[in-house]
Amino acid sequence: MPISLLFEQILNGIVLGSMYALMGGGLALIYGTMRILNFAHGEFFMLGGFFVFFLFAGAHITPFLAVPIAVLAAAAIAAGIQRSTLAILQRRDGWLFATIAATLGISIILQNVALLLWGERFQSVPYYIEGTLAVGDIRMAYQRLLILAVALCSLALVGLVLRYTRFGLAVRATAQDQEAAKVMGISTERINTATFAMGAGLAALAATMLAPLIAVNPWMGLPLLLKAFVVVVLGGLGSFKGAILGGILLGVIEAVGMSMTSAEWRDVISYSVLIAVIWLRPWGLFGVKER
């Protein structure tokens, strides 16, 4: 294979990986803060996809507005759901499994509500920008570069918020010790809701960016959810930074693996990587051993 093609593949892997990073980052944020494994994460992705389809492809609202509105709407729905179900469950004993089961139920409900409301047709969203960048033999659609840029900027923004703001401090405190955080005067319930919404928002953002490349449909979340699971295990469950690195790494591994086999073996490649990691470093590639 010519080296430029391989390079192009890797670049594509990084672009897709940045989407995995968005999904995984959101999942990690939620798990890290409230120890909930969110099986409904794929459905918040799906909601983002549908919202941007209606706003941009349907109502022709500029992506500059359509994307933020779609993301905020999905985040608001997530907040409502967290408040009315997960927050209540977490006050009870044995919530660890109860919350997993609840998000599983929520996932199926959202999927099927979407199916009833919007049908099973696969909807396509046009590119936000047309054209292709060519450098030598390497070609890359502007849309893909846009995806990468948006993903990296938004992840960096979330990282900075977590690192430097009061809100971020409160999120980190809640993640490390909910009881001690309460004693500090932090309303951990509110932080949990906000974090859940933020995580879901990242998933929705990934969908708004990917929508032009994949079809929007009620089941579009499941494959991405499974990838996000792989990503958070690679990165160390609950680690935001780890999820970002894990996402990009997974994208590249898939791209390289696919160029050696074929596209349909992509999933097998990524799940095998996951099983291998679990065997060798169960606490993740980048995390430190704990628990």
Partner: protein
């Protein structure tokens, strides 16, 4: 300033505190002593709203706070130092201390408080960027108390502040608690050791299986025959 009356607390079906009544006056140091599992921690957590109370009343400065959520406690002038310090392990010393001033009302006075706390606990300035979990137990306890003071409480609650510390560290913390109390801050603390608890308090309570079995002035408690026999092992 703190008045607990007829407090009952249950975990599920198991009742842990029975009809408990406790008082802390302004400027007082009060010790609660009891063996493992007697309900000391539960008492403090119930006062702060970390565990729900089944019945009874908790009043702080005349206000009923029985059903106030835990995160509002710092803003009414109360602060709790949890058992085993419970610093945020992967944050720096400074981040931990600053979280003590998280409550809205405490934010404006952060600077002055920090100066005061740093004067009491010089270690905070020396180690400000160290990761909390890499400090020794005694150092962590210092940071935990400092963090508890950052919200400017009028009543400081401490759950076994001497747990697992060397004698030297214990006396250092005793001195600090006295200094804090001199500033007019009332202190309510738990302790399993008779000397450490009643020896360092104006008044004391003795707990057994979730009930107050004895109360009185600190020195009186030390002299009490039952206390002597059961907890000091003398005849």
């Amino acid at each position: 300033m703190l008045e607990v009356s007829g407090l009952n607390v249950k975990y599920g079906d198991a009742q842990v505190l029975w009809d408990m009544s406790i008082k802390v006056g302004a400027g007082e140091v009060v010790a609660v002593m009891g063996p493992n599992g007697s309900g000391k921690s539960t008492l403090l957590k119930a006062i702060c709203g970390l565990v729900a109370i089944h019945s009874g009343q908790i009043k702080f400065e005349g206000k009923d706070i029985s059903s106030m959520p835990a995160h509002n406690m710092t803003s009414i002038g109360m602060s709790l130092v949890l058992e085993r310090r419970r610093l945020f392990p992967s944050m720096t010393v400074m981040e931990n201390v600053m979280l003590g001033a998280y409550a809205k009302h405490a934010r404006d006075k952060t600077k002055e408080r920090l100066a005061w706390v740093e004067e009491l606990f010089p270690i905070i300035r020396e180690r400000r960027d160290q990761i909390a979990s890499r400090m020794s137990g005694g150092e962590q306890q210092m940071v935990a108390i400092a963090r508890g003071l950052m919200s400017g409480p009028r009543l400081l609650l401490m759950d076994e502040p001497f747990l697992g510390l060397s004698p030297k560290m214990v006396s250092a913390i005793v001195t600090l608690v006295q200094a804090i109390n001199k500033r007019g801050i009332a202190v309510l603390f738990n302790e399993q050791n008779v000397q450490l608890s009643f020896g360092n308090a104006h008044r004391g309570y003795l707990l057994e299986s979730g009930r107050v079995v004895l109360e009185g002035a600190g020195l009186e408690m030390l002299q009490n025959e039952t206390v002597k026999r059961v907890y000091l092992g003398s005849h």
